[in-house]
């Protein structure tokens, strides 16, 4: 039993080492793109406050906001202080970057993980049901709905959900984290407010899992082990869940890794529509205000999430399929 764990630990260690140059390159690219942005950080900072601002004030602000030097110099300065644990100050939000992220990350993680788990579980269930009788009514309905949902942008689904559940049926709140008049964050009100955004995000991810599971399981149903199991007279339920699902799930594990970037993008849109206090609005602000420290920290976070998703997929793959050796990944 010790062997797989040691292999997994070694794999994680190798990935962690590889992440360092990847993150450095990704942030350098981000600084380059932000430097080419047409937005004027001073204009973004001032908003409508500085109607009568004099040129002298504008110049001082430009200097203080620190967008001087080439983007490589800025990147290097940022990298050194970030390596020392100082993520810098977000001038656009008038807060330290660490605080901006600390206040918001939890809500984004809550939203994403609930949506992801719902999408995986529901997707697996629907995929198995559809694969059981390919070409049947259930299969046809599930498959065509999945293709339709795959084409629907998350923000459109979000607006539809608000229209239906908040305006028409009036059963769920249209946005925010808690009831407007109430100050305290209670579990009940968070769950009520989480339902729509998490539901929409889950549904936008659902079709991928449904289609992959359906394909994997229905392929497996035609393979030798399943035929052998059937020949031995095992119950259909055991065959489906014990044999076909297990081998059919392998491609889904890979999918988990590749869906993480989509999940993050979807979450940005969904958070914006539902005014969910996660990192989405901070990301938008950071981008339009070319707030380098905040933007860099958020870029690192998303890159880390993607790398972690891939690592998780590889680890699970190795566990699910004993033929795969973690040391060879």
């Amino acid at each position: 039993m010790t062997a797989p764990w040691a292999g997994m630990a070694r794999l994680a260690g190798r990935r962690l080492l590889a992440a360092v140059p990847v993150l450095a390159l990704v942030t350098l690219g981000m600084f380059a793109v932000a430097a080419a942005s047409p937005f004027d950080p001073v204009r973004q900072y001032i908003g409508s406050d500085g109607l009568g601002a004099s040129q002298e004030t504008l110049d001082t602000l430009r200097e203080n906001l620190g967008t001087s030097g080439t983007f490589v110099e800025q990147w290097w300065a940022w990298l050194r202080s970030a390596a020392g644990g100082d993520l810098g100050q977000s001038l656009a939000l008038r807060q330290p970057v660490g605080q901006v992220i600390g206040e918001r990350l939890g809500w984004s993680v809550l939203l994403c993980s609930v949506a992801f788990v719902v999408a995986i579980l529901l997707g697996t269930a629907l995929g198995v049901l559809a694969a059981r009788r390919p070409g049947g009514v259930l299969d046809r309905v599930v498959t065509s709905v999945s293709y339709t949902l795959q084409a629907a942008p998350p923000f459109w689904l979000a607006l539809l959900a608000i229209w239906l559940f908040a305006l028409r049926l009036d059963v769920l709140p249209a946005g925010g984290l808690t009831d407007t008049g109430s100050d305290t964050v209670t579990a009940g009100s968070v769950i009520r407010h989480l339902a729509l955004p998490a539901g929409v995000l889950a549904i936008s991810q659902l079709p991928w899992f449904v289609l992959y599971v359906r394909q994997g399981v229905s392929d497996a149903l035609h393979e030798d082990p399943v035929r052998g199991a059937r020949a031995r007279g095992l119950r259909e339920r055991t065959v489906l869940l014990g044999h076909a699902l297990r081998s059919g799930l392998l491609p889904v594990l890979t999918l988990i890794g590749t869906r993480v970037p989509e999940l993050i993008t979807g979450a940005l849109l969904v958070e914006t529509v539902f005014s969910w206090p996660g990192i989405a609005s901070a990301t938008v602000r950071a981008a339009t205000a070319t707030d380098f420290p905040l933007l860099a920290a958020l870029t690192v976070l998303s890159a880390l999430a993607v790398l972690a998703g891939n690592l998780l997929a590889d680890l699970l793959y190795g566990l699910a399929d004993p033929r795969v050796d973690h040391d060879e990944m």
């Binding site: 004027d40 406050d49 769950i191 009520r192 005014s275």
Partner: protein, 534 residues
């Protein structure tokens, strides 16, 4: 197709039902707070469109007063008259107009219990004026040379030049030197967890969602009756209206057409606040067409301001003939201009602008054409710009309307016209000096049209420096008459700000409001003085 839609809806319901089923039980345990219940309306939930960037006065929060969390040395009353707040009286001004002395109220405490003294005043003003403080509105205090404390309860400002409206600037909120000192002014915690002397204290701020306040029990002006104040940040007008209608909000700022849809709803009243918030077209002096005085005068006669008020603003506004609103006591009577396109055409004919083949006038081989910009995404300015271009076209002047971000527009201000906006009602100097003084032409976002009129410059100086109210009034009247004769901006409208709110309180009024009316303005400008109707 039908099967697909049904199934999709079903999937949607199923997914949410999973979560919904989990929560119905727990949801009931959430405290049922709905706008104060039936008995006491000691809670106010307001929907606002924009949230402040910061709550620190050191970075510009509440600079025009009504900050809820803080007090200024002075404050504005309903008629925008100055009244003492943290000062015990209006300032003593030296004869040369250079020294302002404020006696401070004793026994006032910040909400953390530390006493308020002259040290806090000096700290606030000096920090704002510090070069390293990123306060975009610091030019408001450009006249201040130094500020010093004399003992604990006297503050003396020394100005670099006589600046008659200086007292108006001292509505600026006073920060606590103990709480705000010793941290990074630009990004420190004071930006989100401010400590002030004001009627309310901040109890929570979820950015992009809401700000909550609770009454300050030790407020020197008496504890407010409205004990809880929530500002819900809802940028979308329709969503704000929907949440007001559902009873989620007690009050909201709304565009006029949405506010009209609440007319006759029981328990809701509409408050319309006049404002100094103008929309005007800059006519750059350096451009051969817009710099031509005849063209300027003709455009000024050709625009149909009343129609703009009726159609674009749905009646919630007033025709503007200059930065000073017609309702203001500073307005120069008789500078209103009629809508008279025939006179405009006659004027241009006489000046030698001859109508060409395509209907656009030409003089000395130059077509009467220019470009008019508006900031992309600003629907109100877009409609003003299009109406303006259409009125100009009627008299043979071709204004091409274009939209762009401010980054694009900024570089073209010297040549192209722009649909600009602004307005601060507290003193005529605030708008007129920055808009019209030739020294400030193209200086940052001052005098964007590069207006240059020596007679106006002279009167602006007199108005700024003179301590004599009658002399100031004469100066600003002269400025407005000069502007009418050489209209380097075509002023179009002053916009009313419209609010719809529940009717449970007495003492609800509105002030004349400035351009920027986020949190402090609106009927709740003095919510601390409201009385709950029994």
């Amino acid at each position: 197709m039908t099967a697909r839609i049904t199934a999709r809806t079903w999937t949607g319901i199923a997914a949410t039902a999973v979560t919904a089923a989990l929560l119905t039980a727990t949801a009931c345990s959430a405290p049922g707070e709905e706008g104060g219940g039936d008995g006491g309306y000691d809670e106010l939930v307001v929907g606002i469109a924009n949230e402040p960037e910061t709550l620190s006065p050191l970075l510009g929060y509440g600079k025009d007063g009504n900050s809820k969390i803080f007090d200024g040395l002075l404050r504005h009353d309903e008629d925008l008259e100055l009244q003492p707040a943290l000062a015990t009286a209006l300032p003593e001004i030296s004869d040369d107009g250079l020294t302002y002395t404020y006696a401070l109220r004793e026994g006032v405490e910040f909400s953390d219990g530390t006493p308020f003294t002259a040290r806090d005043v000096v700290f606030t003003y000096e920090t704002i004026l510090d070069e390293d403080t990123n306060n975009p509105a610091k030019d408001d205090l450009a006249a201040v040379e130094s500020v010093r404390a004399e003992g604990d309860h006297t503050v003396v400002f020394t100005l670099a030049y006589p600046y008659a409206p200086f007292a108006e600037r001292t509505v600026l909120p006073i920060a606590s030197a103990d709480a705000a000192g010793g941290q990074d002014v630009n990004t420190g915690p004071y930006n989100t967890e401010p400590i002030g002397t004001g009627p309310y204290v901040v109890t929570g701020w979820t950015r992009g969602e809401r700000l909550t306040f609770e009454a300050n029990p030790g407020y020197w002006g008496g504890e407010p009756e409205v004990r809880r104040l929530t500002m819900a940040v809802i940028p979308d007008d329709d969503v704000r209206a929907t949440r007001l209608r559902s009873g989620d909000l007690d009050a909201a700022v709304l565009p006029p057409n949405l506010a009209n849809s609440f007319a006759g709803e029981e328990g809701l009243v509409t408050h319309t606040a006049e404002s100094a918030d103008f929309r005007a077209v800059t006519l750059p002096t350096g451009h051969p067409v817009t710099g031509d005085q005849d063209i300027r005068l003709a455009l000024d006669l050709a625009v149909d301001r009343e129609l703009m008020v009726d159609s674009i603003l749905e009646g919630a506004g007033h025709a503007a003939y200059g930065p000073v609103p017609t309702a203001s006591p500073w307005f120069a009577e008789g500078t209103e201009r009629p809508h008279d396109p025939d006179a405009a055409r006659a004027l241009l004919d006489e000046a030698g602008w001859v109508t060409g083949e395509d209907g656009v006038r030409v003089k000395d081989g130059r077509r009467a054409e220019f470009t008019l910009w508006y900031p992309a995404g600003d629907r109100l300015r877009q409609e003003h710009a299009l109406a303006y271009a259409s009125d100009a076209r009627d008299i043979g002047i071709d204004a091409t309307v274009e939209s762009g971000s401010w980054e694009v527009i900024e570089g073209r201000l010297a040549q192209d016209a722009v649909l600009s906006g602004g307005g601060n009602p507290a003193d005529p100097d605030f708008d007129l000096y920055g808009l019209l003084h030739s020294e400030l032409a193209g200086d940052g976002w001052n005098n964007m049209g590069h207006y240059d009129n020596p007679a106006v410059d002279e009167q602006l100086e007199t108005g700024r420096r003179s301590g004599d109210p009658a002399e100031r009034e004469a100066a600003y009247e002269a400025v407005q008459r000069e502007l009418a004769e050489d209209p380097g901006y075509t002023f179009l409208t002053h916009i009313d700000h419209v609010y719809v709110m529940a009717d449970h309180w007495d003492g609800v009024t509105t002030q004349i409001e400035p351009h920027d009316h986020g949190l402090g303005h609106g009927p709740w400008w003095n919510v601390e003085d409201w009385r709950i109707r029994s």
